[in-house]
Subunit: 226 residues, 2 copies
DNA sequence: AACATAGGAATCGTTGAACAACTCGACAAG
DNA sequence: CTTGTCGAGTTGTTCAACGATTCCTATGTT
């Protein structure tokens, strides 16, 4: 009995999940990261609150949440806009990635984290084999998210989640997803092998080159666009 | 003329700062970090909105902001409470510090960052000389904030700011601030010297020991208290 | 034609009131 | 001692209103 009750406590986190504002934020977050709302677009309080059937007050709470995640840009008296990342923003995001992911690969990997990583690599390979580059992108994001779990820090996991959501704002400028994702499928595999072999320093160096390359691809497609 | 105009731009960030909700959040944040509101305490919407002379709706926006900074704990239908950090939280915060500050000290320091660090060290020493341990604590926080600027990343600066605000929630359990802060005045100076000498690896190792020690002091004073 | 200015429409910021939904403790019944 | 039930107190959410701010446009000046 005591055991069963103790088990239940793990489900408690699922209870707190409600509140209209949070659900609205979830919807908007999805829309933004799938590109339905484009960077720079203004989100009108009235039209959206009407479309979603919630009050302006509730919608504003959702806007605040997303503003804090840097997905929305809240300009006083002018409304909220889908964030436009500058080249400097992209550079900063990759700076943070080098720090967080770099620290991750230097740790001795846990079996749990390794299996997450392995899964993401396999998913990416399968998706690439069937030319589904969107799925490759998704798996690739999961790969990096899994890398960060090596740090064993909930806060770093959360930070990485936000960081990747922010990066998705700019992934959409890559009109040819294949060029952007293909080179990394193989590298993910290679990085996994280095981790499994316990060659942390090599993995870290490899990752640095990896991120440099990804950043260059991104700003190259991005910069002229602004 | 152009020069004067360029100068002005630095003040622009202060302009955007308005919105009642944000100012309310600023007030509450200060109150929390100074210990006026104690961890676990419930913040009533009605009494606080009345005391500050703002509407409940506006206050709720402020609560959301602070919730996102992890200073408040928002429990559905039960209100907001000043966050109580668990020992696991403290451990995680130090995990993050090791990653972010560790990456910082490995960089080749810029003159700008070095002067910030130097200033913080000197302030701490002056405050220690006059037995003002509260001021030592403040200078110490500035020291670590300055360390992080070595990363040259606005996002990491911001993350560190939030992290330290969160840690302040638990600093208050140290009833004897001297014991907690004194050992680190000298270490800050030592770390600065290592940085100036360009001995990055030694600095990193030294910092790890530093953070281990600080964490141990903290959880030791903290754990039995829960 | 270029520029400044003055409305005016649209939208945001904030408030106050209202009511449903929910929590929690007290008290009664089994 | 456990299990319903009730009621007071708070939170969650909506709605309507009004002042403040921004943006657009039409008007008028040089």
């Amino acid at each position: 009995m005591d055991n069963a009750v103790a088990d239940l406590e793990r489900d408690r986190s699922r209870l707190g999940r409600s509140s209209t504002a949070e659900r609205v934020a979830d919807i908007l977050r999805d829309r933004i990261s799938e590109g339905f709302f484009e960077p720079g677009q203004r989100l009108s309080e009235e039209s959206i609150s009407e479309a979603l059937g919630v009050s302006r007050n509730t919608l504003r709470e959702a806007f605040r949440l997303l503003g804090h995640e840097r997905l929305l840009d809240h300009r006083l008296n002018r409304g909220v806009f889908v964030r436009i990342l500058s080249a400097e923003d992209v550079a900063d995001l990759y700076r943070v990635r080098r720090v967080i992911e770099g620290a991750a690969v230097r740790r001795s990997p846990t079996p749990r984290a390794l299996s997450l990583i392995k899964e993401a690599v396999a998913d990416a390979e399968r998706a690439a084999a069937r030319d589904d580059w969107h799925a490759v992108g998704t798996a690739n994001i999961r790969f990096h998210q899994a890398l960060v779990t090596l740090n064993q820090s909930p806060r770093l996991d959360e930070a990485m989640r936000q960081l990747l959501a922010e990066l998705r704002l700019v992934f959409h400028v890559m009109k040819n997803p294949r060029d952007f994702h293909e080179p990394f499928v193989e590298r993910n595999r290679r990085l996994l092998e280095l981790l499994e072999a316990g060659r942390a320093d090599e993995a870290a160096a490899f990752l640095d080159g990896y991120l440099d390359h990804a950043e260059r691809l991104l700003v190259h497609a991005y910069e002229p666009h602004t």
